[in-house]
Symmetry: C2
Subunit: 220 residues, 2 copies
DNA sequence: AAATGTGAAACATTTCACAGCT
DNA sequence: AGCTGTGAAATGTTTCACATTT
């Protein structure tokens, strides 16, 4: 009975995948409290969705639940970790050692999860005094290819100014990463097969502005 | 012919709304270059979507295009700004003046958009030496209600540790904000009518890990 | 009795295809 | 000729409803 078999769930809706991460964090919290099992109903309340949707989401992991009982915390946690592909460590390169980049490095370390900042790079490594307390050398961006190869880096994080973002993305792709998380205020693209998430602060604020305007007419 | 009439597009798909922000940034860039008009085809290429979808999205703003020609840049820009509800300034409160918070403040200022950080708050304002170069007093979190009232703050940004996030969210809601942007590693909830975006770094990384695993079998 | 797992229905979003302007 | 705007079809996602299991 191996549990090393990566499920590799390709047909899962992308929103389901995001929710799996939320479930995992909640399940971990329950585990810390010593809880032994959880129902789709409890999860549905926590995240304001329907219990049927929770069951559909968890159905992608296989039949992990017990009818009449619920989901065993340990089984569910393992299933989620396996489905998310975080049952091993992932080395990450962070490009842009400014304030945001430094915050992200510290944040990743504190999370103590499967993600390791294996390299920090910048165009001006010597100027990055902000990053000094990170206990890690800031490399010049030109050493990206070697860093990615030698340190088996699969994911790149971009925290440079918007004007430099696409260029950095191209370099990350050329160096061989498989996915990019972009925090710069620019929509970047990558070739097929390279996954990109553009996380744009201003886009979220604009979204909220619209919602406030539309919902409750607080217009002036 | 007023152009102050807020369109208040309620029935727009939420993904369309996000794309409007992307279109706006691109349209602004074209405007700077002196371009006069743009087609749905060009926009569709830029964002790797179908041109029909672009036209559907822009259709929510009204019939702004000219058949056989395309969309006038100035007209489109105004339409997007109006639809997004950013044809006026929005005062924002940022809670959590650590590294991430400081980065977000500077980022917002640099963007020179409609969003103004009108108050920065923290549980330990005096300790926030990182925020010193922001040229703004860091207030104690207890003065949130007065700050929100006096400064007409409609949006709250949370950049505190995950354990404090829901508590801060509750305080923001009590103080009267209409929407919350949460960067803390916690899924926070708010009453109906208050919009929340949970932007969770780790969730994005887990998502990418899954995609890499699923797509190209780099699994050892 | 309680909760899962799942087809089928309902709903939402995207693409297709083409009529209608410029 | 070129491009928008838009019903209709296709696709994707969520909810419903209930048989099934503990």
């Amino acid at each position: 009975m191996t549990n090393n078999n990566h499920k590799s769930i390709s047909g899962m809706p992308s929103l389901s995948l995001f929710r799996l991460s939320l479930y995992l964090r909640y399940v971990k919290a329950l585990e810390c409290k010593g809880v032994e099992s959880v129902s789709s109903k409890e999860l549905s309340h926590r995240f304001s969705i329907s219990s049927a949707l929770v069951r559909k989401d968890l159905g992608f992991l296989g039949s992990l639940g017990k009818r009449g009982v619920g989901y065993d915390i340990a089984v569910l946690k393992n299933g989620l970790i396996s489905a998310l592909g975080i049952d091993k460590h992932w080395n990450v390169a962070l490009v842009g050692a400014g304030r945001l980049g430094t915050a992200l490095v510290r944040y990743t370390r504190r999370a103590e999860g499967p993600f390791r900042i294996a390299a920090i790079l910048d165009k001006y490594p010597q100027r990055m005094t902000k990053a000094r307390d990170l206990d890690m050398e800031v490399l010049h961006i030109d050493s990206l290819p070697e860093a990615v190869q030698e340190r088996d880096i699969k994911i790149g994080i971009i925290s440079v100014p918007g004007s430099a973002a696409q260029d950095v993305a191209d370099k990350l792709v050329a160096a061989g990463v498989g996915a990019i998380l972009n925090f710069a205020p620019a929509y970047i693209e990558a070739p097929d097969g390279i996954f990109v998430h553009n996380v744009d602060f201003i886009v979220y604020l604009e979204n909220l502005a619209h919602h406030i305007n539309t919902n409750s007419d607080i217009a002036d």
